[in-house]
């Protein structure tokens, strides 16, 4: 399949990334190569095969419903780019 500029734009938006004009040419090429590379799987006959959804045998591990393992508000906010002692803040996003 062909990777178009339109597809790159769509994926970039979904990925919350943006690329300059030069970067876009590079990422378009890279994607074209990588998709070509993984398309090889089309050669494998997987008719009727159940997809493997979970690795490992650890299913439904229950524990008592006790409050634990939480962090304090102070710790949770300690790495926020905009300091505040109550909330995560974002730059003003509502325009008049």
């Amino acid at each position: 399949m062909e990777v178009t500029e339109q597809l790159v734009d769509k994926l970039a938006h979904l990925s919350r990334l943006r690329f300059s004009a030069d970067e876009k040419i590079a990422i378009k090429n890279d994607l074209q190569n990588m998709i070509g590379f993984v398309q090889k799987l089309n050669e494998v006959d997987t008719t009727g095969v159940q997809p493997l959804l979970h690795m490992g045998d650890a299913n439904n591990v229950f524990r008592a419903d006790e409050l634990k393992g939480s962090v304090t508000r102070e710790a949770a906010l300690a790495n926020a780019p905009i300091p505040d002692n109550q909330f995560f803040k974002v730059p003003k996003v509502i325009k008049k």
Binding site: L7, V8, K10, L11, A12, L14, S15, R16, L17, R18, F19, I27, D30, L31, N33, M34, I35, F37, V38, Q39, K40, L41, N42, E43, V44, T46, V49, Q50, P51, L52, L53, H54, M55, G56, D57, A58, V61, R63, K68, G69, V71, A75, A76, A78, N79, A80, P81, I82, F88, V90, P91, V93, K95
Partner: protein, 477 residues
């Protein structure tokens, strides 16, 4: 005491008073200082390690019970959380992030008296096979500084290789412990999926990631695994199976093993001729020792790396969506942009090229219209591989292969071509795709003077057999 030979010998020297933990940490700090050009560490916790050492010396003097890793000097890959310390994933995105809790593996190390000496450089978010993708510069192979140490856990491998710590923790999603161990000439162990808690390990691909161990000997790796493995309230994918006393169960009682190798792996045209030759000679030696070694067909070898890249990039695109520049991590300095543009700017400035590539590919395979053709298809192939692994281990104790098709390459040799780099993982990704334990053993030396390893894979949660067989193989040469 130095050079360091084994944890057991070191702990004997501690108890007989020949050496102290403070002496030991001082020695390793010197080694780190002398090897700065290798760039194996992003940060060294010098004062803190010395302080911990002094407390441990005191504890020993008072005759208190000692931990299994008493005084052992450990380095950790910079994707593993150590409370109160920075953890950057070698990325600008979280360069200034400070852990607010311990990874469970770290908690367990500290509970058994280990000393954490620093955090190791690696490929950004553990994505890479050469440790050239770090935001903090490349890591160099101590045996030849013009060559890569492998990746993504390159710094952790070099830290053990160059004697800057005794053992180190890395993470292995598709070979990121075994491949650098191969390139650096040391032991690299990836446990079964779910053997070690992933809590506090920065996620790349959650159904593949496992914390792994670098060591000089299989004995040291087994002891370290015994400490870090086991159930954890904070990781529901970790196995409930009891952890055997790996270090005490290393003797195979002269067992004769039944081993398989993939015919396609040794016939692969990308495989270096000399590596092939030495592996074949080793197989002959194994047979002469009474073990059975048989070629088996593995018709899916060409599909394992594509399957791996579809599934891991998909998981990565989802896992890395948490880096939004709002709750933590890099936030753009651009002003007057809306929230979506804030996310885009922060993420584009914070993530390196390879990380962005993988997020884009992962988003593609998960996006509407392509999901079934790529993502579901890869999950189906993963199922086929899983079933095949069960069949093989019904007949054989282990699968052996080269760890990597070639020895450590030179800087820049593969950095322009992501897919060529990806193929370096051809022998290692199988273990992560099906969740089995695997190890790279430093058994060989190439005429280009670089080391290379033998990969051994056993069935799910058969670490005891893996260690025992590894010990046999290590002593055969």
């Amino acid at each position: 005491m130095f050079p360091f030979s084994s944890i057991q010998a070191y702990q004997n020297s501690l108890s007989s008073g020949i050496v102290t933990c403070v002496d030991t940490v001082t020695h390793y700090l010197q080694q780190i200082g002398n090897n700065q050009q290798l760039n194996a560490f992003i940060e060294v916790f010098a004062d803190e390690a010395l302080e911990a050492a002094s407390l441990l010396d005191e504890k020993r003097k008072q005759g208190k019970p000692l931990g299994k890793l008493h005084g052992v000097v450990v380095a950790i890959k910079d994707v593993i959380c150590y409370n109160g310390h920075k953890v950057s994933a070698a990325s600008k995105m979280i360069e200034n992030f400070t852990s607010i809790y311990h990874a469970t593996a770290v908690e367990k190390l500290l509970a058994e008296d280990a000393i954490i000496i620093g955090r190791n450089n690696c490929d950004e978010f553990a994505m890479g096979s050469s440790s050239e993708n770090s935001a903090f510069g490349v890591v160099k192979n101590a045996l030849d500084e013009s060559r890569v140490p492998g990746g993504s856990s390159g710094g952790s491998a070099v830290a053990v290789q160059a004697g800057m710590c005794m053992v180190s923790l890395g993470s292995d999603t598709g070979g990121s412990v075994r491949q650098p161990a191969d390139f650096c000439g040391i032991v690299g162990l990836k446990p079964s999926y779910g053997r070690v808690s992933r809590y506090g390990l920065i996620a790349y691909a959650s159904s593949f990631d496992q914390i792994g161990i670098f060591a000089n000997t299989i004995e040291d790796a087994a002891l370290t695994l015994e400490v870090i493995a086991g159930v954890d309230d904070y990781d529901s994918t970790v196995s409930q199976k009891e952890v055997p006393s790996y270090a005490a169960l290393l003797d195979s009682d002269n067992k004769k093993y039944k081993l398989a190798y993939f015919k396609e792996a040794l016939e692969n045209e990308a495989l270096d001729a000399e590596i092939k030759q030495q592996i074949l000679s080793f197989i002959a030696l194994l047979k002469a020792q009474g073990h059975t070694v048989e070629p088996i067909n593995f018709e899916w070898l060409d599909y394992v790396v594509p399957t791996y890249y579809i599934l891991t990039t998909a998981e990565a695109s989802s896992n890395l969506s948490r880096f939004d520049g709002v709750r933590f991590g890099h936030q753009t300095a651009q002003k007057n942009i809306d929230l979506t543009e804030l996310y885009k700017a922060s993420r584009s400035e914070g993530f390196g090229k390879e990380v962005q590539r993988r997020i884009m590919l992962g988003t593609f395979v998960l996006s509407s219209g392509y999901y079934d053709a790529y993502f579901t298809k890869a999950q189906q192939v993963r199922q086929l591989l899983y079933q095949r692994s069960k069949e093989i281990f019904a007949d054989y104790d282990a699968i052996i292969s080269p760890t990597v098709p070639a020895t450590a390459w030179k800087f820049g040799e593969k950095s322009d071509n992501p897919t060529a780099m990806y193929l370096a993982d051809i022998y290692t990704v199988f273990a992560n795709l099906v969740g089995i334990p695997a190890v790279s053993l430093p058994l060989f030396k190439h005429s280009n003077s670089m080391p290379f390893g033998l990969q051994v894979m056993c069935s799910h949660f058969e670490e005891v057999h893996l260690h025992q067989l590894s010990k046999v193989l290590m002593h055969l040469k």
